[in-house]
Every structure is written in structure tokens, then in C-alpha cells.
């Protein structure tokens, strides 16, 4: 049984491993990622992961205690909160029926009792990958906006945000979050911005993209204004739902996932641009999360082409849609990169990746990307790699860097080996 760093290192140095008797541990699963971090000398620069997740379901009993309404609190504790099983209407099988082993095994991972389980699990994968800071989002709650009971969405949003601020964000300065806005209730969204904007670790607010409310609605004006006033970015985090009527035509998860994650952000981006939101809120920064990158050049071309024939449709726009889109921010994962190097390079150019793209892993989800997906791209300069891996996020969110202790130790060891004192870390 692995109980601490020492035992874990002892296991790592044994000359064989028998999988039949080995317990699951994030550090073992990500051992190859840790090797990549060493080889690529990630300790030389900051890496910020702008889209990662935890499973709030594992802490749901704690979160439920934060629900104000006692009747709802009781109901939430009784029912629990998860995506349901094989026959659920949102019947996801992201884990490929067990092929992605961290899904079923995560619950068996042993952690010390001295700190919150979510913090330990986050720190383990971050240190393995070489990630210094991570923007953490929930997992099943990405579909909370599909709950037909708006009161439940609002109640859960408040409870989750309070729990997150109290239990996680105050404890670890390496972990940040953009807090959930219950988009079906504009007034509640506004109240949440006011209540949480100044809490430690809150670096913006997030709308999950699988919803059926138009983002140009005047009802959101004061929320957008409040965010702009506070210089806090608004994120649109893509997701999928099999309850979407058109996606119900798909009988394979690959179809729902590939289309759902990009479609919802294409829809909201189109409304955002054609309604002139970048002109109405010129200083409100938007971040488009977890739709990959291939949808952006498509939408730029499509909207530009139609806009030049229909400028009267978009009275607020002073430039082409693609020019506004090029000033927005995007997270990288899941980056489309099978046999398409030229298309990827062109995509990077079209979105000004050097300043607008933010690396994201989406760990622990099945389609996660390691920092090497960016670092190994042959068409990027060293500075561009560092921008995308960390500096762009630092600039967007305006936070002070907090380094991984593992990377600091490695840097110090290298400096000591070279016979000189370690230089101060810098981006």
C-alpha cells in the first residue's frame, strides 16, 4: 500500500511491477508524463492549465451541506448527484467502458487525511505533468444547466461555489477557478458575481455552454457590466448533452462528444459576435473553453462570408466577425492533431495563438492533453510555446505565479549541479 511520498518512491525504484497486485495511484499512471516534464525542462518556465477538472460528486455530501433550503438539502443528500448509469438519458460512456482506467479506479486511490482529497489528487497530476497552476472546473455540474428545475440549478451553483471557495481555493494558491453562473436565472447570476468576485482564487466566471438561453439577452447586461468593471473574464465552457434533440440522432458517444462540444460554443460565439457584444462590452474578455480549435477557423470564414453580404444584420459590428474572434481567448484541448500539421499551423495563425491561446489539459477526462502537445509542435518558437503554456493565462487572469514545488526542487538541483545558486524563477 502506498501511504506517502517515501513509499511511492520506493515502489518506483523496484525492478518490476506486477499489475495484478498494484493499487491505482495518479503518480504511477502519470509516470511517463513526469518523465516528459524532466526531459523538456519544464522547471524553466511557468505552466498554467486553464481547464482541468475534479469530481465534485465525491465531495457531494459536503457540498449539500451548503444548500440553504433545508428541503432541497435533504433531497440532494438523499438522491446524490451523478450522471446516472447505463440507461440514463444522458447515458455517457466517456470512460470507454473501462478502457480509460482512471475513471473506475480513481475512487480507490489512497490519499493522506491531512488535506482535502481533491487537493491531493489535483496536486499529484499537476506535479506529474509539470503544471504549476490549474483552473479547476467541476465535472457532472457542467450539465447542471440542463436541469429543468431552475431553482435546483441556482441552489446547486451557490452551494458549489461556497464549498469551492471555503474548502479548496483558500487552501491551495496553485488552484484557481472561474465560478459557475446559473445562466437560466440572470438575477442569480448577477448576485453570484457580486458575492464571489472578491473571494480568494476566483479569477473569472463561467457559463456552461449546454443551455438554451441566448447570451445577448438584456437580462444579462448588468452581469456582463459587473464582470467588465471588475476585469474578470467570462468563460463559455463547452460540454455535451445527449438530451439535445439533434444529438439524439447519434447512437455513438463519439458523435455526441465531437459535435456537442464544438456546436454549443459555435452557437454561443455566433450570437455573441452577431449581436455586437464585443462592441457593447469592449473590455470584457471572453474565454472559449474545451471545444478544441478546428471550429474557430470554420466559423471565422463562415461568418465573414455571410457578414459581407449582410452587414445590416449586425449593426453594431465595425469590423469583420473574425477580427473580433481573433481578439478573444481560447483553451487548447482537445486539440485536433492527427495527420493535420498544416491545418493546425494555419489555425494557430488565424487565432493569433501566440497571444490568445491558453494550454489546457482537461485532466482527468478521457481526451486530456499533456503540455507536450504544445511543447512538441515544430512550428512554434520557444517563446510562443511558453506563452501558450502559461504566460498568456498569467496575462489574461492577472495572477502572481505559484510554482510547483517539484519543479522548484528540480531547478534548484540543476543549479546546484552546475555549481551555482538557483536563479529566481521567472516566466
Amino acid at each position: 500500500m502506498l501511504t506517502g511520498t517515501q513509499d511511492f518512491q520506493g515502489e518506483a525504484q523496484r525492478d518490476f511491477r506486477d499489475l495484478a497486485s498494484e493499487e491505482f495511484d495518479t503518480r504511477t499512471l502519470l509516470r511517463n508524463a513526469a518523465d516528459q516534464a524532466v526531459v523538456r525542462k519544464y522547471e524553466d518556465f511557468l505552466i498554467v492549465d486553464t481547464d482541468s477538472h475534479h469530481y465534485e460528486t465525491e465531495a457531494f455530501k459536503e457540498i449539500a451541506e451548503y444548500i440553504d433550503d433545508p428541503v432541497m438539502r435533504y433531497e440532494a443528500k438523499f438522491q446524490g448527484h451523478s450522471r446516472g448509469g447505463f440507461t440514463a438519458e444522458t447515458g455517457s460512456y466517456q470512460e470507454l467502458a473501462g478502457r480509460i482506467t482512471r475513471y473506475p479506479l480513481r475512487k480507490t486511490e489512497k490519499v493522506p487525511t491531512t488535506k482535502h482529497r481533491d487537493l491531493t489528487l489535483m496536486e499529484r497530476w499537476m506535479d506529474a505533468m509539470g503544471v504549476d497552476m490549474a483552473v479547476m472546473f467541476p465535472t457532472p455540474m457542467l450539465n447542471l444547466s440542463n436541469c429543468p428545475r431552475i431553482q435546483v440549478e441556482v441552489t446547486m451553483a451557490k452551494a458549489y461555489n461556497r464549498w469551492l471557495c471555503d474548502k479548496i481555493l483558500t487552501e491551495d494558491p496553485r488552484i484557481k477557478s472561474m465560478l459557475y453562473l446559473p445562466f437560466h436565472d440572470p438575477e442569480a447570476s448577477y448576485e453570484i458575481v457580486k458575492e464571489f468576485a472578491d473571494r480568494k482564487g476566483v479569477i473569472g466566471f463561467m457559463v456552461t455552454s449546454t443551455h438554451y438561453k441566448a447570451n445577448y439577452d438584456n437580462a444579462y447586461a448588468k452581469t456582463y457590466h459587473a464582470l467588465q468593471e471588475r476585469n474578470l473574464p467570462l468563460g463559455f465552457h463547452a460540454a455535451f448533452t445527449w438530451t439535445d434533440q439533434s444529438l439524439q440522432l447519434c447512437n455513438r458517444f463519439i458523435g455526441v462528444h465531437a459535435l456537442g462540444f464544438s456546436w454549443c460554443n459555435m452557437l454561443h460565439m455566433t450570437n455573441w459576435v452577431t449581436n455586437g457584444m464585443p462592441e457593447r462590452y469592449p473590455n470584457l474578455k471572453t474565454l472559449w473553453i474545451e471545444s478544441g480549435l478546428a471550429w474557430i477557423p470554420f466559423l471565422m470564414q463562415r461568418l465573414d462570408n455571410e457578414f459581407m453580404m449582410r452587414t445590416s444584420d449586425c449593426g453594431l459590428l465595425k469590423r469583420k466577425p473574425s477580427e473580433y474572434m481573433r481578439e478573444m481567448f481560447y483553451t487548447s484541448q482537445p486539440m485536433e492533431m492527427v495527420d493535420n500539421r498544416e491545418a493546425l499551423e494555419l489555425t494557430f495563425k488565424m487565432i493569433n495563438a501566440e497571444t490568445q491561446l491558453l494550454y489546457s489539459s482537461d485532466y482527468p477526462h478521457w481526451d486530456m492533453d499533456l503540455p507536450s502537445t504544445i511543447y512538441d509542435l515544430p512550428f512554434l518558437s520557444e517563446q510562443s510555446k511558453r506563452n501558450i503554456l502559461g504566460a498568456n493565462a498569467q496575462r489574461l487572469f492577472n495572477f502572481d505565479p505559484v510554482w510547483s514545488p517539484v519543479k522548484l526542487e528540480r531547478k534548484a538541483a540543476r543549479a546546484a549541479k552546475a555549481g551555482r545558486a538557483a536563479e529566481p524563477a521567472g516566466v
Partner: protein, 121 residues
């Protein structure tokens, strides 16, 4: 060619995997239906520990007359190594990716001698 001792014959259960090291190189040795297979424990996709994943049969879609879909079955004769990081699948027998053989796990020869199993590096 160096040899790395893996285990005694019979020590790895059917379908099991043992990981051995030779310097920085980790090799997964898999026992399946009386045969041993050895591959480097690094996926060509993003570097995941491929040998530590499930061993799953090929999924076959049965198509009947006039293109009618009749359902799915497993083909147990074509076992796959599934990388646990992202699910990339490789043929157990030769380590090639099940769709694009230009992606492959590095294969090593397995030697049985005197009741012991070795990998040739």
C-alpha cells in the same frame, strides 16, 4: 543484445502483465493464450503507459444482406492493448495501431529458457 529477466514461466497469470525495467526503458510483458508479448510501455500518441491498460478484443460490427446492421460482437482472436490514457488500441500480436499501422508500440523478442522468461533488448 542484452537480456532482461522477467519471471519464471507461469508466474504471469493468463491475461496478466508484468513490467520490467532496463535502465530508463520500461517494458510490459503480457501473457495471453500460452504466448508472451513484450512492448515498450510508451504509447506513440502522447506517451501513455500503454501496456498498463486493458486487453480488449476487437469490436466487430455485423453487417447482413443489403447493408443491414445486425449488431456488435467481440472478436477474441484479435486482442488489443488499450492505452489507459486515451484509449488508443494496438494489436497484441504485433503492436501496430488497429487503424493506422504507422503508429506502433516498440516490440521486443521474448525468450523462454530453462523455465525462465527473458526479454531481448
Amino acid at each position: 543484445m542484452a537480456e532482461v529477466r522477467v519471471c519464471k514461466k507461469g508466474e504471469i497469470a493468463e491475461g496478466g502483465t508484468r513490467l520490467v525495467k532496463s535502465g530508463p526503458i520500461e517494458i510490459g510483458v503480457i501473457f495471453h493464450k500460452g504466448a508472451y508479448y513484450a512492448y515498450r510501455n510508451v504509447c506513440p500518441h502522447q506517451g501513455g503507459p500503454a501496456c498498463e491498460g486493458l486487453k480488449m478484443p476487437q469490436v466487430v460490427e455485423n453487417i447482413g444482406e443489403k447493408g443491414v446492421h445486425l449488431g456488435q460482437v467481440f472478436n477474441e482472436e484479435d486482442m488489443h492493448i488499450v492505452c489507459p490514457w486515451h484509449g488508443w488500441e494496438f494489436h497484441l500480436k504485433d503492436g501496430t495501431h488497429v487503424i493506422d499501422p504507422k503508429h506502433r508500440l516498440k516490440k521486443y523478442d521474448v525468450i523462454e529458457r530453462g523455465g525462465e522468461i527473458y526479454v531481448s533488448i
